[in-house]
Amino acid sequence: VVWTDYLLALPITLLALFALGILLIDLMLPKEMKWANAVTAFIGVLFSAAGVYKIQLWMKDAPLSLGMLNTMLVDRFAIYFWYLFLAATGVAILMSVRYLETEHENHGEYYALMLLSVAGMMCMAAGFDIVLIFIGLELMAISTYVLVGFLRRDRRSNEAALKYLLLGAFSSGIFAYGLSLIYGLTGSTNLFIIGARLPALVHSEYKPVAIIALLTTITGLLFKIAAIPFHQWAPDAYEGAPTSITGFMSVAVKAAGWAMLLRILGFSYEINGRVVSWGLISMRPIYVPLLVFVSIATMTGANFAALTQTNTKRLLAYSSIAHVGYMLLGLVAGTAAVLSPDGIKGILIYLLVYTFMNLGAFAVITSLRHRNVIGDELDDLNGLYSRAPVEAVLMLIFMLSLAGIPPLAGFWGKYFIFLSLIETGHYALASLGVLYSVFGLYYYLKIANAMFMGKVEKGEEKLPISFTMRAALGLTALATLYIGILPNQFIELVNWALGIAQNPAVANLTH
């Protein structure tokens, strides 16, 4: 073991150190200086990002690198997700500063827990050993349980945290059960060895056990990304949690769930002419029909449930469930045995654009919280345009982007998902998916209607927007527009992350 083995965990270590540092510094800060915690956390995120960048530079030629006694696989996929988590966390910190002051809950633990949960996420994305993945998952989940209940005086927040904790613990149990069965079958916790030994087992007398292991594992995974029928926790947790945390959960926690799902279910990519694959990929013929069912159920259920919501956070919770449904279609794309590279590319792009547009939407809702107004009901958005025109226009952009209208970022997520489905011949699923996305436009327009065409009910006063909130809104809106109009480098980024060669067959036509 060389010392660089541990260096791969540098960004994670940095985050953990900063989290502990915040806890210490918080004790010494006077009440009116609590904003310094946010600064520390933000610096921590920057340091961690610098660490990721260092690793990226260091790995330059190597497509992947095993670390931490072969429990971590740092490949471009992991680096991609690390950047994504850090970007989401940075924006979420910017969103939180004023919000926590308004809620009188300005404690350092908030930021410490946030950083710790990101450390967990990073373990999930880079985990190559089911034990490390599980530990990362628990670190993330437990931090999030506390964050959801962070508004101690708010009953909704407490209820949400308890509900999330109970269901989360339950699903973690099922998930751990599945993982233990996998370990029992294959005799290893390493995803690569599991991937190598499973194919033989699936065709032996152990097939029933393998299927039970698969089902329980997938149940745990689907719970974490909140796919129907394992979505029950999401609307409640999203509604009750502090709004900034709702935003954080809906993008970072979700992306981590997806990273873990992709890691465990496995995908393959080609590096230097060698096909690398691992995990449960060999059981793909068994789980694809399941995923088809789940994604149709998710799109249907979430879109219909979102129609009748009157609470914006709850509406966006259902919308985020619906987006999981579309993303699952990307996992279906391909043949029964082989996952289409375009499908997984679609998922990665989807997560990227979703991070910015959804965080932006939650930033707008967070900014509505001031003095005695909670601001998370649909009616609170009424006439927002006359009170805060810039926020209203940005919210319109985010909503249209979520609905997938070009040329906004959200379009590209859907585009690549449906592209992969058409490419691999799933015409009916693609048609169903696009029709549901039209369906989804209806409830996004409900928000737009309230903002632009509704009448102001509670006071005409201008909305006070803090400087950090402006920065968060600006960043997310800029990303949503920029990725939407000039997506090329982001598509290439994802190609890079997945080791897909930049498409040589793309047109060199002159018209």
Partner: protein, 562 residues
Amino acid sequence: MQNHILSIILFTPLVGALVLLFVPKENKDAIRWIANFFALAGLLVSLPLVPWFWAQRFEPGFKFIEGAAGNWIPSIGASYVLGIDGISFLLIMLTTLLGWISILSSWTAIENRVKDYYIWFLVLQTGMLGVFMALDFFLFFVFWEAMLVPMYLLIGIWGGPRKLYAAIKFFLYTLAGSVLMLLGILFLYFHHHSVTGTYTFALQALYDTAPRIYSDYGPHVATLLFLSFFFAFAIKVPMFPFHTWLPDAHVEAPTAGSVILAGVLLKMGTYGFIRFSLPFFPQVLADTTTHLGMTVRGWMIFLSIVGIIYGALVSLMQKDMKKLVAYSSVSHLGFCTLGIFALTPLGISGSVLQQINHGISTGALFLIVGILYERRHTREISEYGGISNVMPIYATITMIMFLSSMGLPLLNGFVGEFTILQGTFMENWRWGAWAVPGVVLAAAYLLWLYQRVFFGTVTNPKNEKLHDLTPREVATFVPLLIMAFWIGLYPKPFFQILEQPVNHTMAMARPDYPQPAGSMNTTAANTTAAVQPPAIVAPAANMPTSPTPPPVSASTKMEGTN
């Protein structure tokens, strides 16, 4: 200048919108002046296109092409490429003209949130122009969808009492059609790749390969694919029975929104049929197998004729003037689709000309209704009567526009409808016979409307003090009147402009059709056919009959050499 003229026309309104962003919203007059300046500038920069285009009207292919492959999103093969032919040229000129007129007509009609109104209107203008200019299918799709947003806001914010319902219905309805088209586009994209090994959305490349889907995947898939495009375009046109969004959107939209909606937006559907459906799926239209009792083409004709008659009959029954004009659009656009699917050169060029005519006359009709509405805030026909006594100029202009809309000879409507019917008769006299009652009914509902609103004595005391048109209002009608008379008296230049693209479309959509014989200007048509680049005609000509698939190398070689 000529190299970038299309981009300049395309982005002038958008620049105006950006400039308006920095004007304080309290300063309404400045906003109005700036918006009108940019709208007029949008028209003026498009005028040089007229002589330039005229000079090369018989030359084959797309003109004023700008942008190269791979300049936008090389990783998926989408590029920013613009170019026009005669069809898109006429529609672009219509768009810039109507855009200016609508913005001018909004001066007093819009009083609240003036700034946003003009910003969205100018954005809309850019979106519509982009649809007609794009030579890249992906770019086309982006403009096609992006344009929905400003229109939705225009209806939803500045609309009538049921604006929310109308705006959402418009948005959802049109989006539902276009997402299916996206899947169709992707199918063509992958098919093109499987044939040539190249990923591209370039229109001309897809023209070469798309017709082969019929032989590669069979009639069933090709028909479904045709349908995926059909829904997008038919909803936009709108063809019966997809028209239900139209009356709502028109009635609730502000006047200028209605003008643009009827004048330009509906044309995007017919444009799509001509530009994409006909060249992509010639065999589907030629197919004689029946679906539910009719061939695909039979269904298209059937729905067009039903639209003509149904739209006219419903117009007769309306109590609201604006709704009457809205339903008359269904009827008029029925003629346009009839001409397209008659698949004769006369039918198609008549159809394009009728689209321009409809933009002029129906645009004017909405302005006319809007002027009365602005003065009295009602559109109920029964509220009026004897208006010609108090507003003589207004009544005269209205009469001319009504006559133009119903197709009186010497005015534009006649030329368009006559050419369409002629083209349809040449194909099948029964189709023409079914469509003719639409012309009669149009005269009925328009003249009856005129009689009820303008003739007689003023019965309603509220109408006694109405003031006649202001110079600004007259100015909005002058260009429309000029165009109406010009097309009515001397349509030859328009047919000359349309000749090359129509023949080209015919060659792709119906390669077996005896080409030069059916055209209007034989000498020019011969040159056109002779100069036609082989890459475009050759595969199309080979397609339906030749037993062996057209050589792949021919198309790929062309792509390689350029």
